[in-house]
Amino acid sequence: MNASRERPYLPMAIGFHLLALPLFVAVFLAQGGAGRWANGLCGLAMVAVGLVLQRTRTR
């Protein structure tokens, strides 16, 4: 059994981490509190999902 079969969700996890980056950058670019909070929370949610997927293995 190869690595991708054991952890087929790893690319998704990496994708979530990578897509969180622009959201954190956008926190600094946002002009108002609503934008900063929305971007920050969305970025954290992406990282959290990425971490869960990173640890998930197939049965």
Binding site: R5, G15, A26, L29, G32, G35
Partner: protein, 629 residues
């Protein structure tokens, strides 16, 4: 109106495309091993991945524009035109999902070979492979691409190569095509999960900043109430306030639409990409749970950011309220006098600061890409599995039951050994993905607008749904039933548009005091159903041994008397499934309206709807636990 993308916006867009491409291409090797891997992810998908993939696929680039436009013109209640499909969705989850998964099919169309026999079945299967794979899905490809083009026109630069939206769309299609062709369903599902997250983030950002710009939720709702008083229209109610609208928007769709219309993603009994995801599930439980996850998020959670954005647009642009007041944007009518309600959503982009505009445009890319990747993979599966393989199969009679035969590589489990033959079949599948993309681009170039494509699909499939439900529940349905339903639906849809037909519909509408649209669908649906039932009874049933094999493998419920007696097996009991169907429908409608009432500042109504949703959830939870035991 155009907005200028900054360097940060372009960087975020490029980053998103690179990540999507990278994640998709990662699965190339695995997808290339067999058709089972390429079209079904080796039947190894967990519920959350297949369910999220369905949600992402149904979230196209036009969806936020349409929903915000509905709200702007006819209020929140206009969404009943698609909320009614929930009844069909929960029916699929609780009555049909296990049967689909048990049948171990590769495509929805393959069911024809499993369920019916003889030349009519072969003809129907081949025809549907071309009809769904090349025609219908190309029209869907065309309408979502047209919508993507509409969004791009708002944000593209005024000069340079990318100023031409066709070049930008071609680039987007090209990138998507590369990873879709290489990575099969694994790549499609993995990128769908990512892209759904991205698409929802974009929707939330637009809604949050739009509502903030409108003074916050409370101030926005108060301003909408003022507009309601000034215009005499209702924007915030969950049900239409006039009898005419109630019948046209709610009662007729609830009575007919969900079972009659073959709408992509809401096929009666399940079909298309919903069925493909169920086939790709690890087992029946994952198939059912994933489809339920899709239904809950699709109906109860996802629309609210778009609805809030539509309401914010109504408040923020006095021109929109003025157009509603003077009747330029009329009820049930959509756009007249140069007013396009769907332009309201992109209009809200002006409140997005540098960087966030790029993220929101990336979210539209995500919505678009996740839809067309599924369409391309699905269409290719029809062409390979239901057209090419039966034609080239060595099975008797040019492939009778070819799909059901154990030699069919796509119908076997993931343990199928990798062979040169299966690798060649994957190459063929990849070629088909490219062919379908080219067909989609051709249809896009010929389609006048996104709405035109939607109308064609919606109207010319009206009436075909009932037979798709009945084939699981009544042994007597045969291939001629489906052929008759498809032919009757198309012919009747054309007839009601001729001068005589239109007059008949108008007269009937006048006699019943109903708008034409509320008469046309029931008329076509009932007439089509009468025709296919008559044809069924006038033509011979499927051969007993063929039916017995299907019944033994799938164990459907319903009226299977002679087949059940011949096999000595009882049909699956439907009582509990039907109870769960009702309970889950109450659950999702409850949560949908609890969320809406809560956001719009009506706590008592939100609590009542939430309690209904919770009661439904308890019944569903208990039912699912018993099913597991």
């Amino acid at each position: 109106m155009t907005l200028e993308l900054s360097g940060w916006d372009w960087a975020f867009l490029a980053w998103f495309l690179a990540v999507s491409l990278g994640v998709g291409v990662w699965y190339t090797r695995r997808a290339g091993s067999s058709l089972s891997e390429y079209f079904l992810s080796g039947r190894d998908l967990p519920w959350w991945a297949l369910g999220t993939s369905m949600i992402a696929t149904s979230f196209a680039s036009d969806t936020p524009l349409i929903v915000a436009g509905f709200v702007l013109v006819d209020g929140v209640a206009k969404n009943w035109v698609w909320w009614n499909f929930l009844i069909g969705g929960t029916l699929t989850v609780f009555v049909f999902s296990r049967a689909w998964r048990r049948a171990r099919l590769t495509t929805e169309i393959e069911l024809i070979a499993r369920r019916y026999d003889g030349a009519p079945a072969r003809l129907l299967r081949g025809f549907k492979a071309v009809y769904l794979g090349l025609l219908l899905n190309s029209i869907v490809f065309g309408w979502v691409t047209k919508a993507m083009d509409k969004v791009l026109r708002v944000v593209l630069p005024q000069s340079g190569l990318l100023a031409d939206s066709r070049v930008s769309v071609a680039l987007l299609v090209g990138i998507t095509l590369v990873y879709t062709a290489l990575s099969g369903l694994w790549g499609v599902v993995a990128t769908d999960v990512l892209q759904f997250a991205m698409a929802m983030i974009g929707a939330v950002l637009v809604a949050v900043l739009g509502v903030a710009q409108a003074g916050g939720l409370t101030a926005m709702v108060a301003r909408v109430h003022e507009i309601e008083s000034a215009t005499g229209r209702s924007f915030l109610t969950m049900l239409p306030t006039t009898t005419e609208s109630l019948v046209a928007l709610v009662l007729v769709p609830l009575a007919f639409q969900w079972w009659a219309v073959y709408y992509p993603g809401a096929e009666p009994g399940g079909g298309g990409y919903v069925a493909q995801r169920m086939f790709a599930a690890k087992d029946e439980r994952h198939a059912r749970a994933g489809t339920l996850w899709y239904i809950v998020v699709h109906y109860a959670l996802r629309p609210w950011p778009w609805i809030l954005t539509g309401l914010a647009a109504l408040v923020l642009e006095p021109r929109f309220a003025g157009l509603v007041a003077d009747g330029s944007a009329s009820a049930h009518g959509g756009a007249v006098a140069g007013f396009d309600p769907e332009s309201a959503y992109p209009w809200m982009f002006r409140f997005l600061p540098v960087g966030m505009l790029g993220l929101v445009v990336a979210s539209f890319f995500a919505a678009y890409m996740s839809t067309i990747t599924s369409l391309l993979n699905l269409s290719a599966s029809y062409l390979v599995n239901d057209l090419w393989l039966p034609l080239t199969s060595s099975a008797p009679s040019g492939g009778r039951d070819a799909a059901a035969a154990p030699t069919n590589p796509t119908s076997t489990s993931t343990s199928t050994p990798t062979t040169d033959e299966s690798r060649r079949q994957v190459v063929l599948a990849r070629i088909c993905v490219v062919v379908v993309a080219l067909a989609g681009c051709f249809v896009t170039s010929r389609l006048p607008s996104a709405g035109e494509g939607w109308t064609v699909v919606f109207e010319y499939t009206a009436g075909t749904g009932l037979v798709l439900l009945a084939r699981w529940l009544w042994w007597r349905v045969n291939a001629w039933s489906e052929i008759a339903a498809m032919a009757a639906s198309i012919v009747l849809s054309v007839l009601v548009r001729t001068s005589g037909g239109a007059r008949l519909v108008a007269d009937l509408g006048a006699a019943l005091a109903l708008p034409t649209a509320a008469v046309q669908l029931p008329l076509v649906a009932v007439a089509t159903s009468a025709i296919w039932i008559a044809v069924t009874l006038l033509t011979p049933p499927t051969r007993p041994d063929h039916l017995a094999r299907f019944f033994t493998e799938v164990r459907p419920g319903g009226a299977w008397g002679p087949v059940a007696r011949a096999t000595g097996l009882a049909p699956a009991p439907l009582r509990r499934d039907v109870l769960l169907w009702f309970a889950s429908t109450a659950m999702v409608y409850g949560f949908l309206f609890a969320m809406g009432h809560g956001l719009l500042g009506r706590p008592v109504a939100a609590a009542i709807a939430g309690a209904i949703g919770l009661a439904g959830a308890i019944v569903v939870g208990r039912g699912l636990r018993r099913a597991c035991d």
